[in-house]
Symmetry: C2
Subunit: 245 residues, 2 copies
Amino acid sequence: MFELKALPVECDDRLRSTDCAGCGARMLSVCGSIEEADLGSLDALADPVTLEAGAALIRQGDAAQHVFNITAGSVRVYKLLSDGRRQIIGFLFAGDLLGLATGETYVFSAEAIEPTTACRFRKSDYRALIRDTPALEAVLLERANHELAAAQNHMLLLGRKTAIERVATFLLDQPAHDPARPSLTDHIRLPMTRSEIADYLGLTIETVSRILTRLKTMGVIRLLSPTELQVRQPERLRSLSDGGA
Amino acid sequence: MFELKALPVECDDRLRSTDCAGCGARMLSVCGSIEEADLGSLDALADPVTLEAGAALIRQGDAAQHVFNITAGSVRVYKLLSDGRRQIIGFLFAGDLLGLATGETYVFSAEAIEPTTACRFRKSDYRALIRDTPALEAVLLERANHELAAAQNHMLLLGRKTAIERVATFLLDQPAHDPARPSLTDHIRLPMTRSEIADYLGLTIETVSRILTRLKTMGVIRLLSPTELQVRQPERLRSLSDGGA
DNA sequence: GGACCGCCTTGATCTGCATCAACTCCCGGT
DNA sequence: ACCGGGAGTTGATGCAGATCAAGGCGGTCC
């Protein structure tokens, strides 16, 4: 719990060649703001990494040397108190950026929660790239502002919402579609465990579980499996999410 | 409670000339990254406003037309739930920037908590200024990242810390000096009320009050007046702030 | 196929903080 | 000097969610 060992990133980096032009996540990410012509130089900087579930990308306290671009999978970002209490700051998915908002050392940890791939950059390279690419800088600023707005919403949730309001808000925030069946917009996949949801919402595992079954008995959602559910009354859920009954 | 009326900002804007070069807050703020030579054009854009305690700079829901630079005083930034529960996102002081992290409409409110002055810019002007001033953009990005890190710390506090840990953290975060006696670094002035502290820390007025008297009886702090206190055992406070006994 | 092991659910009890309720203090107005 | 009201403190009680405890349900490894 809370190891500060300066281990290398637990990832498989045998591969050394990238193909940004053919990257399925490019348009999701900040890389989309880079000219086609400049993708070659991006390839040269990008270091593709593959992570299995549980592998660490970033450890709180380590020297902040890298920036990551998630290309597939999902990642948990969290902070720990000295006695092991954990607050998950957020979950990252394909297209999300990780590791910019830090100084000399990382002030949070990040781990894959399922098999995940990412592009790793040396921070100094990335900084140089930003300097040379005004469009990139603008996009990064915009992203940072979006993240800030999301963080503010989450502070409202953590500081003032009840358990059921937190869970309802969380469900509404999830990308609401099953990639296998894009037509069903009310299906939600939860790649994270109850423990991760709890640590994200400032609750305990048991409370998350109880609230989910409560929502089920209320007829608001249907639990298809522990990691998959269906929203049956989206309006009711929305109303629950901010205390409107 | 939670008015959405599209009122103009409640401020005195008779003055129409600014003097950025002579602004005491310039070096505290992003304006410090603008060349001396360009300050004239900044003057032309800046609209100085004076606010009395309680006056609103920004109302949640209003069209986001302005950006503010606080030059003196202090400001509370908060979000509301539909039933009136309030979460204060943060407090702003001289040099801080307000209103960039928004889209079409403001997603939070901001009010002066004591007599305050600020520079107001039209958002479109500000955007143009950013485009023309790469140095400014870099500084803004850095600021946004700092704010993000602060927001993450606050999520840890709201999600996982106990009441006494929250209050201890809050006290340590306060600028620890009395402007009148700069030598006494252990004096803290609290321009905000207990209600504001409570809404910032996700607690109630009563709990904040009880914790402060508890810290007093423990000998960790001394309460000089409701708005002024002295830290007598900074190490103990630091230890309390993250659960280390 | 059986046994183990995470993860989840459900129930019983406990507790930290919220809520409800006085009361004090300070300050500003008349 | 008095009154009124907002801000703060302190005490009594209540409750939402934590903690403690006991199974259930899949997986996976021999």
